[in-house]
Amino acid sequence: MSQIGSFALLLALGLSAYSFLAGFLALFRRDAASARLGETARRAGIATFAAVLLAGIVLVVAAFNDDFSIAYIFHHSNRELPAAYKFAVLWSGQEGSLLFWSLLLAGYGFVLRLRYKTDQRLFAYASVIIASVQVFFLLILNFAAHPFAIMQGSLPADGTGLNPLLQYPEMVIHPPMLYLGYVGFTVPFAFALGALIMKYPGEKWIQITRRWTMVTWCFLTIGVFLGAHWAYAVLGWGGYWGWDPVENASLMPWLTGTAFLHSVMMQEKRGMLKVWNMSLIFATFLLSMLGTFLTRSGVISSVHAFAQSSIGTWFLVFIGLTLAVCTFFLIANRSHLKSEHKLESLVSRESSFLFNNLLLLVVCFTILWGTFFPILSEFVQGHKVTVGPPFFNRVAIPVAMLLLLLTAVGPLLAWRKTSVESLKRNFLFPAIGALAIGGMMILFGVRPWEDPSYFYATMAAILSALVIFTVISEFVRGGRVIAGKSHQNLIGAMIHLCHRNTRRYGGYIVHFGVALVIIGILGTPFNKEVEKEMGFGDKISIGPYTLVCQSYTQDDNPNYANEWAIINVFRGGKQITTMYPERRFYKASGQPQTLPRIYPSFREDLFLVTDVYLVYEGKNETTGKPIIKAHLNPLVPWIWIGLIIMVFGTIVALVPNAAVVQVAVPVPARTPAQVGAGD
């Protein structure tokens, strides 16, 4: 089995190397043979996908067959591991995740090479660039992190099992989504670099790349949020974002990718920001590589990190080479990237995109700076310092507030110039509504002047409301016009409106989702928690809830032993649910894990929904009673709802616009005027 896998990886390396070299030669030769050579390169690229896929299948089959002769399977699987998690073994360790990365890249390359007739020359350049990235990953897989290495000594009876933290349904989805995002940015990068190298005329390459970029961005968004939800639902600390270096590594390309998706519109509509957009997509790809480097090199300690290894050096060299190539062509071909228009007004959509990009890049820089500062500190001062949540929260939150303001204002500014009357017409009622929300918060007891966290919560609420109201007003205003002309109802008219410009209105829906996410986050300063030992009938009061311990017990299965408490939840004297916070001991790895239980109070609180979050913290060894920690986390469910809306908005934006229907209107014939009549 391992020999098949090893052979498949070696074959894939050979094919991708041929695809790169032959494709490279074909691009720069001008003779009759170059077309044939280019075609063989394209087919070699397609065959690479088959070879890498074979290697991936072999690794998964080895996991299902409990083939512990393969070291990777021994270290990440065991006999009693449920089937879904045996599949996830593919990406649970260093070598497997690199193979998974390579597989996804080969998959993206496969689709690109099948669609080459869209623009043969541009696709040929992109194919060569993707092949070069593929060669890099396959070199690592074959020589530095081989997933099919054989166990030394006698064959073990069982494996050490999967990390208990990964034995959760979301962990089956989170890494694939994240990798689809990371890897996916290779495609727009390849198109951008290819367009730059060949001095591609016009902006068609952006239209070709746009869908790839949006799909990739969507996957990365899902991956980031699934990671946050996993942290919330599994780790038991009641939070969802810890500014861990690996979390930061996923956020940075997301920020630059978001900036690129916005500023690329300026290049399409006005032929501006060409150098900037090239730089952004290069930075996004490099940050994806940097994230992989952070996770695997051991340079920065993180709970997410794979074991420290030597492949960090490989990534550093690759990042350095890529940076050098991108910089060279940006400088050499900069004359091709001159802007075509001038700016007429500071109050315009062009300016709002510039400031949008600025703020996104400042947040990205802050995260990058904070993530690497411990290394810099060690170099300068001789000792590391911790750069944790207090730093990132204090710096990123104010900038995020400004970004939220732009999210509300930017889409309603006109291209070139916006008049004061237009500003008043578009923003008056949303602004009044948003300020009313802030006023209501103060009326209900929030004191923004007492604490910075309350101040930011109030600001976030006002600005999120502004985003929501401006989006709704855009849909309603446009829907009313269409309803009036087509005699449809308002809802039907809004759907029709959306279909006429899916990119614009899909973008509005994404902004709506972002505002909901911010609403979910702003509840953090109002979190409550109580910890108590609970025996039979013991109670905890937290907020409007009373938690009563009905019982506590233990259980056992081949994979783990567990202890859990049965907690009845009361509100207003009435029982609303029963919750079962649990702690497990995984037998293969010998590691414990808590499993929090979460009850979102939609039925009781509607829009002010709060999560009742119970954690089995431990057990008093003397009394045998469980120690339960109860959290009340207001508004958190809106984060996950916001994600769903963002994904829906992205899907809408990907739908092609409704075709404009040409209608023939009969016009009565006129007698032509006599020449000279009326002189």
Binding site: L235, G236, W237, G238, G239, G242, D244, M272, S301, S302, V303, S339, E340, H341, K342, L343, E344, L346, S351, L354, F355, L358, L361, V362, F365, T366, W369, G370, F373, P374, S377, V380, Q381, H383, K384, V385, T386, V387, G388, P389, P390, F391, R394, V395, V399, S419, R477, G478, V481, R583, P592, Q593, T594, G618
Partner: protein, 164 residues
Amino acid sequence: MISRRRISRRWLQSAALALAVIVFMGAGDDSARFKDLGHRMMCTCGCGQVLLECNHVGCQSSDKMRDELQAALDKGGSNNDDLILQGFVQEYGPTVIAAPTTTGFNRVAWIMPFVALALGIAFVVYVVRSWKNRPEPALADGITIPRGSELDEFRRRARKETDL
């Protein structure tokens, strides 16, 4: 009849008392200090979480550190927050503090993001100005681009006719 001087003295005493209450209001609230200080330190068990959010099942480090923190707060007296944090740094090293301090080289950590923001704003302003001052692109003979009030009039008509 109470003299004006006595009334003024009473007002001053009341103001001083109110000020003392406000100034020392937080000082007596040990649970708030515990929460604040617990979020300014990292757990040393390797979980990468702030002390009060360590999710490590059966963590020995966070239990010990929380007890030490509570003991330091219970000590009272001249034990202010900075001294308490300093004590933890001496025992666990500088990485126990969850964010860089504002002294020495660590100040650079805080300054750089705002420097980046200021430079970014300056760059955007420069770009906007240079775009505004850019010469007009050359056009075919006979074509003029409407400007100023003429362009505003065209925009008003277009908006009225499309009603969007």
